[in-house]
């Protein structure tokens, strides 16, 4: 199985990708997921994270099959 990682809006443009896929090896935090793909790049201030389409803090643990997402503050409405 694997972890799907998604990026949206300005963050997607900044890192130049909309998606990453990570083979699931061990429990890790959302913060670790970010650094796995964005080595040496700190998460931009105010970045929001979601796991399976619910908001989650960066130190939440993810499990196999989860969808993780990173995006800037929302600006709808």
């Amino acid at each position: 199985m694997s972890i799907k990682v998604r990026y949206f809006a300005s963050l997607k443009e900044k890192i130049g990708r909309s998606e990453d896929t990570l083979p699931y090896l061990k429990p890790m935090t959302i913060y670790e997921v970010w650094h796995h793909f964005n080595v040496g790049t700190t998460i931009p201030e105010n970045t929001l994270a979601a796991v399976n389409m619910d908001y989650a803090s960066l130190d939440s643990l993810i499990k196999d099959g989860d969808e993780v997402a990173f995006f800037p503050p929302v600006t709808g409405g």
């Binding site: 949206f8 809006a9 389409m53 908001y55 800037p72 503050p73 929302v74 600006t75 709808g76």
Partner: protein, 150 residues
């Protein structure tokens, strides 16, 4: 209760009327309906805006809107709610968002409507990118809190 994400322009009044007709043409317990319509302005943060692109997170957007409406239903006595949000390419004057709330009493209808809008603006994953008159594009950085400011 319904949530719709629309990629094409919509007429808020047609949508409300169609929904009312379908859902409760004859519920005579409705005493109060509140409607909020957010439309695109041609000016924002000191610059004229030509158009806008609204991005979203399909699946999560609907999930968060569901939760927001559920939370409103738990706090106020509501008969029904309709939330429509536009995505894609939008021009000035076009509607972006519609929130309609039906209740027996006006206090519930007013408060729930505003609550849904404020939560939508702070939690529903939508992102606006503005195309300025000089053809430069910029992402809107953040929404303001509508309870405390404009």
């Amino acid at each position: 209760m319904a949530i719709q994400i629309k990629t094409e322009i919509f007429d808020p009044f047609e949508e409300i009327q169609a929904y009312q007709k379908k859902k409760f043409a004859d519920i005579k317990s409705i005493g109060a309906s509140t409607i909020f319509i957010g439309t695109m302005r041609d000016f924002n943060e000191g610059a004229p805006i030509k158009s806008m692109t609204l991005d979203y997170y399909p699946g999560m957007t609907e999930k968060q809107l569901d939760k927001i409406i559920l939370s409103a239903q738990q706090q106020w006595q509501l008969i029904d709610c309709l939330v429509i949000h536009r995505v894609g390419h939008i021009l000035p004057n076009e509607p972006i968002v519609l929130v309609a709330v039906w209740s027996s009493h006006r206090g519930d209808a007013y408060e729930a409507n505003r609550f849904i809008m404020e939560r939508l603006k702070s939690e529903a994953p939508f992102w606006k990118k503005e195309l300025l008159d000089n053809n430069q594009a910029r992402w809107v950085i953040k929404n303001t809190n509508g309870y405390t400011s404009n």
